[in-house]
Symmetry: C2
Subunit: 368 residues, 2 copies
């Protein structure tokens, strides 16, 4: 596959760690929330095996925060999400779908409740800030919406627990999944959550002070030597195997949560209203017409930058949306939106790419 | 300067022309509106000289359209911009600033009025659709907001007129700057505007039918042979020399139109209200505290991915936001936000990059 460089300009913002990762063997970027997000440090499969065994430090500053602050912040938060915000507790993270008036997905952030009138929406790659601003202005809500200068470092992998214990002390080991709290390093307070975009365990450090964050970044590598620490980034193989959905890849503005298998993050019984609630009730009553499923394909490499049709003879049964070669399954695996009538896992399909037909089968998510 | 690849996935959408440009010598991409935008076909200066002398065909599908349709489309359009929408005529393009409630810039699109109740907002790189949706929902407006599948081909350069004449006939030569009309090619209608992101003259073809657009793309190269046609893309050297501002590079959410020298696109005397009108009147009364200016720096190459401070001794006089080596001036030229008190063009400044200090001077925009 041909490779192309990325052209850098201020519009694709750098992070406080850009200079560091570029001297640590970075090979490719993606762009996320108008910011550089590292996409590989050499072969994906090497990084995949390392992530599953050791510990990695990731520059995920591109995971930007939309801050809602003020009297009506909870009201605005509730209007945008189909989870019951009245149940949100301070010190907890909530995977919350942002829904539009059609019941379709705008984003799938993790929301942190910082205080009764302050939320951080840790967004995927769409400008949720502009949506929130439009709504707040239109409704005359008393809420201040901003993007604070928070630049997340993720520490991921099974040895992340030992590494973080060495850095901030053993109290961090008591934190439950999706909890967050403040921890001290070098006399600076850091909000740290037990979360991250892998299923290998770990933490996300919400860095609010750039210089302190850079020092912490270096310390993670210094103290991490004994755990074989390496720089890394969200790993395409690991995240597809784990069934972690990616906004813009696996779903977009035309998809609803039920089509994406995200039923458990939709609360249609809560008292409060939210955008698209009526539409989602309709979807439940009518049933979905397609859904995201796993696929396995007899190929040893793949790269896609649009949805690719999957065929049963000459019928399109769905579209492949994300794909990678998996060293575990020794074939290409992916996530596809499959049309109703083709959910049957015993039937195969054909993918026609670059004038070559490959055979594949459907399966459930996650793969592992 | 180290170079890094771009990692492709569906989230960075391809265009109907992606396969073509990748076989035509493309070397680098940028990402714009969640889509691949070509950024170079070999050395920038070669492409620069070619653009100023001949004709280029650009895949600028990433310049997405936000369509407003319905009874309240004009009302919503007016709410978002500081130009007087009541004066917009069907068949004309309008460079229109999208302003938030603070009077700051959200985007700087060209707006096409297609009919009394239909507009296309041809956006720069922020999700204006989400802002418009939020506003429309909050205000209960009767307007349908969508991103139609329009994929622009730009034809730019002094010989673009002769080439387009050969493709769609001589009537296109009568079109005035920023006019648009429909023209036929192979029995398909194309909306074509006399516009484009260079100062070398040319057209933008708003392709609504992918297959017809791909045929037109090929025909432009076939018929363009005699004019020395080449594939191209917005050229960093040409656009900085011409003073074409780039949203996200030269200005961002914290800047107002007056700081960017965009005074003539702000109408504070119109009857209608728009977001941020009061704030902009305040800005006029108080005067601006900084403004975008040109800079020339004694360097023979540069690449920046964040604003870089410019020093007068130890005072920061402003930040460099875009920069490139210019073969015309035989030095680096750029666009910088300069603080009040330092607008004097006779004084120099120092740029400290990669532990090296370079001397520079301030000048007016555009350079040429």
């Amino acid at each position: 596959m041909k490779k192309f460089y990325i052209a850098k300009t201020r519009r694709l913002r750098d992070t406080p760690y850009t200079e560091k990762i570029e001297s640590q063997g970075l090979t490719a970027y993606t762009v996320y929330n108008h910011m550089l997000l590292p996409a590989s440090f050499g072969p994906l499969d090497e990084s995949y095996h390392h992530l599953k065994e050791h510990v990695q430090v990731w520059d995920v500053a591109a995971e930007r925060q939309v801050e809602l602050k003020g009297k009506d912040s909870g009201k605005l938060m509730q209007m945008m999400t189909c989870r019951d915000v009245s149940k949100f507790k301070i010190g907890r993270c909530y995977y919350s779908l942002i829904i539009d008036e059609k019941g379709c997905l705008i984003n799938d952030p993790v929301v942190l409740k910082l205080s009764e009138d302050k939320f951080w929406i840790s967004i995927a790659d769409t400008d949720v800030k502009l949506f929130a601003k439009g709504l707040a202005i239109g409704l005359g809500l008393d809420v201040k919406i901003s993007e604070p200068d928070v630049n997340i470092i993720a520490v991921q992998g099974p040895k992340s627990f030992k590494l973080m214990e060495k850095i901030v002390g053993s109290k961090i080991l008591e934190m439950k999944f999706f909890g967050f709290d403040y921890y001290k390093f070098n006399n600076n307070n850091f909000l740290i959550a037990r979360s991250g975009w892998s299923k290998q365990g770990g933490f996300e450090i919400y860095v609010e002070n750039r210089k302190a964050g850079q020092e912490l970044y270096d310390e993670l590598f210094e103290k991490g030597k004994e755990f074989n620490v390496k720089p890394g980034c969200p790993n395409l193989i690991e995240r597809i195997e784990s069934g972690l959905l990616s906004c813009g890849n696996d779903f977009d503005y035309e998809d609803n949560p039920f089509e994406c298998g995200l039923d458990k993050y939709v609360d249609l019984n809560m008292k409060a209203d939210f955008l698209g609630k009526k539409k989602l009730i309709e979807v439940v009553n009518q049933g979905i017409k397609r859904k995201l499923m796993g696929v396995k394909i007899d190929l040893d490499q793949i790269e896609i930058s649009s949805g690719k049709p999957l065929y049963d003879k000459n019928n399109i049964i769905g579209y492949l949306r994300s794909a990678t070669y998996s060293p575990t399954f020794k074939k290409v695996i992916g996530i596809a939106m499959i049309n109703k009538g083709y959910f049957d896992k015993s039937r195969g399909f054909e993918l026609r790419l670059n004038r070559k037909a490959s055979q594949g089968t459907i399966c459930d998510l996650p793969f592992i």
